[in-house]
Symmetry: C2
Subunit: 334 residues, 2 copies
């Protein structure tokens, strides 16, 4: 357990480092941090904090830099909600209040807003459909060999997909299928569109398997591939001093370019709403040198998409988390 002054020193170092990106010297803390003691005393505290693993040094005679343990302690114990300015509040409100027809657009707008306000890069992923409840399925014939399937879920999510057939299909056939699918699926979670449905339909349907098969295949495909990743403000990261290192910049672009990593990163949160991963805490090797804060957008416990902020370990956690909390509150009001 850290005593009061050590906490203050740690907090001061973390915040100073977040602001300046330069190793923090004992001298720098004697002013403007409410620490009423000399640099020598602070040096002693720093030495001990380092011994306990909260701080790192880049070389023997350099200032201190927070270690991952230091950041973690800061996030868990020392974080105070940052005030959001009036302009920011106005900006956020106006953005979130734009009328959207599709939930995924709302997630994108939210990602966009968070990125704009925090000045970090944001990514988002669409809702996980699997456990949403099917409210309605509609099949629409387009021409004679193409159909669109539209699934409406309890959270208002609309998922549509196109299905092509190898033979002509009649309006009658579409209607029968529509009836049967609805009959079987209405009120069921989307993931039901897997095994059991298939057997049932093959048994019941009297006409060509050529018609039902592509429908089932495509629907199965669609419910699995909910990896609709959206990226916002990649360039913002490039203004940060850590991106002067080509290696960092390259790794970053590589991460954003690898959808699997981004999807993994967004889907791997335990907490209900906000998750913070600092450096090595990330499950993805590629992210070991970055920090990630994710925010799950939910309504009635149902996933409506997840937004993630990715930046240097020296991230302004306080700002990011405050903004997310505020946005969460705003979204709940809608």
């Amino acid at each position: 357990m850290l005593d009061d002054r050590k906490k203050k020193v740690l907090q001061a170092i973390v915040e100073e480092y977040i602001n300046t990106a330069e190793p923090v010297s004992s001298n720098a803390l004697t002013t403007n941090h409410g620490l009423d003691c000399s640099s020598a005393t602070i040096r002693n505290e720093m030495a001990e904090l380092e011994k306990n693993g909260y701080l790192d040094k880049t070389h023997t005679s350099s200032g201190r830099v927070p270690s991952e343990k230091g950041y973690r302690y800061y996030v868990d114990e020392l974080l105070n909600d940052k005030d959001i300015s009036l302009e920011e509040i106005k900006y956020i409100s106006s953005k979130l209040e734009t009328k959207v027809n599709e939930i995924e657009d709302l997630t994108k707008i939210t990602a966009n807003t968070i990125s704009e306000v925090t000045h970090y890069t944001a990514v988002s992923i669409g809702p996980k459909t699997a456990n949403q409840i099917i409210e309605d399925i509609k099949f629409v014939l387009l021409g004679s060999r193409m159909m669109m399937a539209v699934i409406l879920t309890d959270t208002g999510l609309v998922k549509e997909t196109i299905i092509k057939f190898d033979e002509d299909v009649t309006q009658k056939q579409i209607e029968t299928m529509n009836y049967m699918f609805n009959n079987k699926l209405k009120g069921q979670p989307i993931e039901t569109i897997d095994r059991p449905l298939e057997d049932y339909l093959y048994d019941e349907m009297t006409y060509s398997v050529n018609v039902i098969k592509p429908v089932i295949e495509q629907l199965k495909k669609v419910i699995k591939e909910d990896e609709n990743i959206y990226l916002e403000g990649a360039n913002k990261s490039f203004d940060l001093p850590e991106f002067n290192s080509l290696e960092v910049a390259k790794n970053f672009v590589n991460i954003l370019d690898t959808k699997e990593v981004v999807a993994d990163m967004l889907n791997s949160g335990f907490a209900e709403d906000i998750n913070v991963y600092i450096g090595d805490e990330n499950k993805q090797d590629e992210l070991k040198d970055f920090s990630v804060v994710t925010f799950k957008h939910k309504v009635n416990g149902k996933d409506l998409g997840t937004i993630g902020i990715i930046g240097p370990k020296r991230m302004d956690y306080s700002k990011v988390i405050s903004v997310m909390k505020y946005i969460n509150k705003k979204l709940k009001e809608l």
Copy 2:
């Protein structure tokens, strides 16, 4: 007009520079370029090519680098179609033959393929819908205050959008609207969904304007916002030596982050199929230090999307163009 040997020298310099990214010395050209003369002779030729603006020097005693005029001459006059390897042909074929249900997916796959084969960053944009002919419009009621509109065009493009109402809507109303819209729009280009339609519908429809208005508004919005940009292989560019310059890297990320620039870039081609923009030839200031090759995917003169390769001015134009030509042929076969 350049004499034969000058052409050879220019071509050799361009190709050598494309390969090595290092200024090309007179010595480097004496071997392996079919130039049967000494370095001194080549130096004379180089001096003259420079005087005529085809070559640049980075400093008094450096090798030569092609100028933009040099690249342009190379692209226009000296380009020879590069062979595509058997593996590449196989790869391209297998990628393009994957069954897709939506045209935009095909464009994405094509962009992806070009990026993989050329090792450059690719972007793509969906089809311009405006001049496509409406074949069918279907309205589907989802719940009581939401509707999906599906537009099918003559090129097989399916465009769908969700429309929300402020009051309950009946199936009957949907059907009436569907009939009227089809009546007015079938066989017309999509852009018809603007002024004239509106007047007609307001006149004819007997029931609430609250129902028709959102439909028209949303449809108008959809046909205008066909800026569905897709990015592939951003990280590939970062392996190129020019991206060791932080400024270049940053500019590049900025470009890819600015959808308007990318959209502009993809939409600004005069030629029927393949357009090449070298450095300053780009209409967008941000692209002055890059080269862009775009490829329009068309069927029966109708736009199905455009794919662009963006890379350094020292781009392997020959490879890129050859691959695009081959893919174009392949696409036509489908």
